[in-house]
Subunit: 260 residues, 2 copies
DNA sequence: CGACATCTTGAGCTGGCTCAAGCGTAGTGG
DNA sequence: CCACTACGCTTGAGCCAGCTCAAGATGTCG
């Protein structure tokens, strides 16, 4: 589950920021010489699986990126109900976006984080607009992801939701080079899936069975195997105005703090 | 529906950014001299009700704030299903976060926007970290709002969702001084409410009736009248770890681009 | 190899949906 | 000034997607 893909030559200039900023950030994270000469030293930290990285309400000195492993953002209701806001895969920004975390963040696997004090980023942002750009793009991207998830929960049925999530994760994993043989690691129990999609565990199980029997994808034993990507996209919705949303915004350069 | 409250003296320094940045931004928007001496000239634009401000996929030169009126972000599925991602009230950042919009934005009432070219913000961001801070805080705040909505759709039932939305909007309206007599303007049809909460119009109607009959709130004739705020909060969920979430993050200063 | 978590399947229930019809109100045009 | 239309609100009636409860089966880890 390492970010092997990131080792390969990165020719994109971060000045023309698109989602490839992720790779640059991750390159930073992996310690390779980075292209924007950003003077931030990232510390590495390991956290075992099934632990919280931070809790709702925590005020954190450091800003974190996920170098490898899976994590997830979640929130709890008073009566124990849980909702999972998003999954985090290698290369993702862990956060928090705000110094005070608005949600919990837990690990699904053993995890390696790369982190640096928030103040370092503040300083660097001022002198390296490309970095500020990248961070804004990260936020905008996750915002888009959330609104997509929101649409799912609001207006898609169980089958569509599941298909949508599987495709979304496929695209994200592909982007960081973690797809092999049309399949990807997926250390997510059906219970967690249920809390992500707003379903019951039982119904998640039946939904997965149905997708499997129809030849779209198999989910289990810690892996997702996509058998019919286009079909799965169709199930996910006759929506998605274009591919643009699957690709997480390749089209969109130049956020606020445009690089010079 | 003007931002009267914003006219009053603003003593907060934006250097210690919290959600009060909204007021500063709005102050900019209203043309008053601003405190950070930011050299951005905002143009005013009016848009009639029931029009789109921008469409999904549009690439926009300008960044916009809502000076008065109501608007909403929404997305469409291929088969006509619609989901409303968020409402925008006076003082809100309209966006888009990314130059290329990831969703539609429509007006519910006649609306006044204040806007400036994105490039102006890019430049200003570099020289006025306080502004960059504020914009990041805006994003983080809306992120929090979305994740809250996500929890609603995933794990709350119709009654809880409705109560939660009404309280959320109450808090947001209060923040910009638009509450009078425990009530606020609410130019939202039951159909739009349905598309926001992931319910059918019929069920929205029944849910509102139930909340009205139980003495919590009345919704109709373009207004929400809160009759029992605490009760409504209880209905919304024995969740909300603290008040923090209702208050949209007053606690949280110093995002990435901390002001000096 | 025992204990515990996870997955699976059956059976019956229900919250919220769909369909359908009636009503009030605001425009709109003749 | 009134008829007409359109839109939004309301309520009834029946239905179904997804839920809950229950009970095995299958891992998996110390």
């Amino acid at each position: 589950m390492k970010l092997q893909a990131l080792a390969a030559g990165q020719t994109d200039r971060i000045g023309n920021v698109n989602i490839d900023f992720l790779r640059h950030i991750s390159k930073l994270a992996t310690g390779c010489e980075n292209e924007i000469g950003m003077p931030i030293r990232l510390e590495t930290r390991r956290i075992p699986k099934h632990h919280d990285i931070f809790a709702e309400g925590d005020t954190l000195r450091d800003v974190m990126f996920l170098r490898d492993g899976w994590a997830y953002r979640y929130r709890l209701l008073g009566d124990g109900r849980r909702h999972i806001v998003n999954f985090l895969i290698p290369g993702d920004f862990v956060g928090p976006y705000f110094p005070t975390a608005a949600h919990f963040c837990g690990t699904l696997t053993d995890v390696t984080l790369c982190q640096a004090p928030r103040s370092d980023f503040s300083d660097a942002n001022r002198n390296y607009p490309a970095l500020a750009s990248a961070l804004e793009a990260i936020m905008a991207t996750e915002y888009r992801l959330l609104s997509e998830r929101l649409v799912s929960l609001g207006r898609r049925n169980a089958r569509e939701r599941m298909a949508h999530l599987l495709v979304e994760l496929y695209e994200r994993m592909r982007r960081v080079g973690l797809i092999t043989d049309n399949s990807y690691e997926f250390p997510v129990t059906q219970e967690i899936l249920a809390d992500t999609l707003g379903l019951s565990v039982v119904h998640v199980n039946r939904t997965l069975r149905s997708l499997r029997e129809d030849g779209f994808a198999t989910v289990g034993f810690g892996r997702v195997c996509i058998r019919d990507l286009d079909g799965l996209r169709d199930v996910a919705g006759a929506d998605e105005p274009t591919q643009a949303h699957w690709s997480l915004g390749t089209s969109a350069p130049v956020p606020f703090a445009a690089a010079s």
